[in-house]
């Protein structure tokens, strides 16, 4: 055979090699299958007995295919220097000597050892652009000859194809990974979308947690699970809902925030997978082989935990994966928001109920009117006052509802127009009956931003209390007022010294008595007591100076003096005692404790006038006379009247009196003479 023919045969063979290579690259799938086929062709084409194809990812190398060496470890590592050295031989062959320079055969590193095993005679690093994808290495040729330039050329050609193929495989791998990731993301999004839809429609916390739990269990393929909830002022966690769990376990188990695994959850606010077999007390407690615990975070605080156990598959229980954490965290953050909403809703509901109960419990009728003039709401007292059903009131226009009360309608109208409050006291509510006496006030209704929303009407039914002269505000009897109006001269509100008679009364043992009663009862008792007393005080034209607790102070002679001030004071006292006796009879019959008031009266000089601060002025009297009056009152026994000598002198013998032992009074050297008025 001539050299030429031999050469032609070789070319033919090489062409067939490339043909075969195409076959392998087209038909084989996966980098492992391709490298195996390509190595077979390289070895066959170059007639070499040993060889390997290694893939490189950063510093990690993997032997994908080898021939002629005994099987050994598949994972090797490439150091930075070696990688740098290979870069200078980009896709061209490296000879035996150069290989030994890069991969020191004396080194005990796994990669040089591998090349030494191969008796590496030629090597091609596979670069795609600047990225090292792999290394093709061959041992010596069978016939012992060296690699010829034609051998090297064909090797490089095959290697270029292999590089392309490996790059494609990497791309395909990436695409597969991405597609898998996308599928999971889509699944995750779908689930989350479904969940957020269903969660948003549930506002009951218990129902909501069950929904979240069942969704989580089914999404993650867990066999069972439960949701724990934090409790106020307690480190313990209570089971909010459970799915497929042993009931006894759920009821009896005690979980604490400070125990494993919750201490970690609270510290890191991250989900964890617990799988360290029997050593973990939590797994022991729950009976899980493995479980995943995720915090439910709402409003930045952990409000609870989702615990899911034992991921199921056809092959039995399998471990939870990173992806499961991602999904569960997304779920639990949805749950956190939804549960926050549910809690908020519950709180709002509670606040609403609380408001309603307050509105319902107050005696004043409260009616809100919207911008159209229609009644928006009415409280229980309002329903009672108007003697109509709620649905007959709400939605009705105020001008119809209060058609007989033009003053009220006008007040509402004014409040709406002028955005100011209007009030009227002690007027009949004709819409109910002419005997119904009310105080009403109308205020414009605005929201927090100040926008006008309508009006609110408060109507206080004082038919019963009207006797107390509009809740004690009118301290001066009508005749005194009339006199004042008649004669401006008599009214001198500046401080002036004048002769007055002061009457004090207070209830014996009231504090002790009130402690035994409900606050409501105390108020109603005092109201009816004062109502009776004030009637008498006004009957004798006394001026009600002040009411402090159970104590009454009445002045006779200020702002207008009369000759019979002292006598009227004593008459008032006697009247009060008589009235109180009748009052007590009624109380005792009802099984209530009698009210025992004592009365003291003194006459003398006082300073009278408007006394107080600029903001709070009171027309009152001050001085020793006042103080002694109060002292006398404290000396008076139940239903007894004590008067001073000045009063006794004034009333003379018109009233029976008895002289008592003089008393010592602070600030006075001489004991003070006192008299008991006999009734």
């Amino acid at each position: 055979m001539s050299g030429n023919t031999q050469y032609k045969d070789k070319i033919d063979f090489y062409l067939n090699s490339l043909d075969e290579l195409g076959e392998v690259l087209i038909n084989q799938e996966g980098s492992s299958g391709i490298t195996k086929g390509v190595l077979r062709i390289i070895l066959g084409t170059l007639m070499a007995s040993k060889g390997s194809i290694i893939t490189v990812k950063r510093t990690r190398c993997k032997i994908l295919s080898s021939h002629g060496i005994s099987a050994q470890q598949k994972n090797l590592s490439l150091n930075a220097n070696q990688k740098k050295a290979l870069t200078s031989f980009k896709n061209s062959n490296i000879n035996q000597k150069e290989i030994k320079e890069i991969f020191d055969p004396k080194s005990s590193d796994d990669l040089p050892v591998h090349f030494a095993d191969l008796k590496a005679a030629i090597m091609v690093p596979l670069f795609h652009k600047d990225n090292l994808l792999g290394i093709v290495t061959l041992g010596k040729k069978f016939d012992g000859s060296t690699y010829q330039s034609l051998d090297k050329k064909i090797l490089e050609i095959i290697c270029n194809h292999l590089t392309d193929s490996l790059y494609n495989q990497e791309l395909i791998g990436n695409i597969k990974d991405k597609r898998m990731e996308l599928r999971l993301k889509v699944l995750e999004l779908q689930t989350l979308f479904d969940i957020s839809l269903s969660l948003n429609s549930v506002l009951d916390i218990k129902e909501l947690s069950t929904e979240v739990l069942i969704r989580s269990v089914s999404t993650l393929n867990a066999s069972s699970g439960f949701i724990l909830e934090t409790q106020k002022n307690s480190p313990m966690l209570s089971v909010l809902s459970s799915f497929n769990m042993n009931e006894d376990l759920v009821k009896s188990a005690i979980f604490s925030k400070s125990s494993i695994p919750f201490n970690l959850i609270w510290k890191d606010k991250k989900s964890i997978i617990i799988s360290d077999e029997e050593s973990n007390p939590f797994l022991k407690k729950t009976g899980y082989k493995e479980c995943i615990v995720s915090p439910i975070i709402g409003n930045r605080n952990i409000s609870g935990c989702i615990v899911l156990g034992d991921k199921e598959s056809r092959d039995g229980v399998i471990p939870f994966e990173k992806n499961d954490i991602d999904i569960l965290e997304a779920l639990s953050s949805q749950a956190g928001i939804a549960m926050d909403n549910a809690k908020l809703f519950e709180e709002i509901n509670a606040a609403k109920r609380f408001n309603e109960s307050i509105m319902g419990s107050i005696a004043t009728s409260v009616i809100t009117i919207n911008l159209l003039g229609e009644i928006d709401s009415v409280n229980k007292a309002g329903v009672g006052l108007l003697s109509k059903k709620t649905n007959e009131i709400v939605g009705e226009h105020y001008s119809y509802l209060f058609s007989k009360d033009q003053n009220l309608c006008k007040a509402i109208e004014s409040a709406e127009i002028e955005l100011e409050s209007f009030a009227e006291l002690n007027v009949p509510l004709m819409s109910k009956s002419k005997n119904t006496i009310v105080n009403f006030s109308v205020a414009p209704l605005t929201d927090q931003k100040g926008s006008h929303l309508g009006a609110v009407v408060a109507i206080e039914d004082i038919t019963e209390q009207s006797k107390i002269k509009n809740t004690f505000k009118r301290y001066v009897s009508k005749s005194v007022v009339d006199q004042l109006l008649d004669d401006d001269q008599k009214l001198n509100l500046g401080g002036e010294e004048r002769d007055v008679t002061v009457l004090f009364s207070d209830i014996r043992g009231f504090t002790a008595m009130s402690e035994k009663m409900k606050p409501k009862e105390v108020v109603s008792t005092l109201n009816s007591y004062f109502s009776e007393m004030i009637d008498i005080i006004f009957k004798y034209d006394g001026t009600l100076d002040k009411i402090v607790g159970d104590e009454l102070m009445v002045v006779f002679g200020a702002p207008i003096s009369r000759d019979d001030d002292a006598e009227r004071a004593v008459q008032t006292a006697i009247g009060m005692v008589e009235s109180l006796k009748k009052f007590n009879d009624k109380r005792v019959k009802k099984g209530k404790v009698p009210i025992n008031a004592g009365i003291g009266i003194n006459k003398g000089k006082v300073i009278s006038g408007n006394i107080g601060s600029k903001d709070q002025m009171d027309y009152t009297v001050i001085g020793d006379t006042v103080n002694l009056g109060a002292r006398l009152c404290s000396f008076a026994g139940p239903l007894k009247i004590i008067v001073s000598k000045s009063v006794k002198d004034e009333i003379g013998d018109n009233y029976k009196t008895r002289k008592l032992e003089p008393i010592k009074v602070k600030g006075k050297r001489k004991p003070v003479e006192i008299f008991k008025v006999l009734t």
């Binding site: 033919d12 063979f13 062409l15 067939n16 090699s17 043909d19 075969e20 076959e23 077979r40 070895l43 066959g44 007639m47 007995s49 040993k50 021939h67 002629g68 069978f142």
Partner: protein, 137 residues
Amino acid sequence: MGTSPKVELSIPIIPDMELAATQTSEVVARHMGLGQDKSDEIKMALIEACINAFEHSKTEEGQVEINFTIEDNTLVIKVTDQGVGFDENTVKIPKIEQKIKSDHKRGWGLQLIKELMDTVEFESTDEGTTVTMTKKK
């Protein structure tokens, strides 16, 4: 030894199953005292023969028979496939020799076998194809 030692192997047509044949050849070669290079050459030739046989046996249920015989200092390996089947009417398999000469795709493996082994013979009938190859010590 009076009789020639013989190893018979039957492998299913499953990818990578040719490795069962190369492991056997390695044992036989070692028994004969063949060098590592020669053993490697035999393995490569055997792989090509097996792959060829796999490709000829279009029915995947078939088996490929491999016989190793040590005659004096020569290892004789026969690889037999069952061809496309036993139906007379099926398309005739082109002669292997023709395939090689016509630069047909599938010829590369056989060409390689020729390079690797001392002798190669092909025998193709309707019932299948036998490749007989030898390697001297």
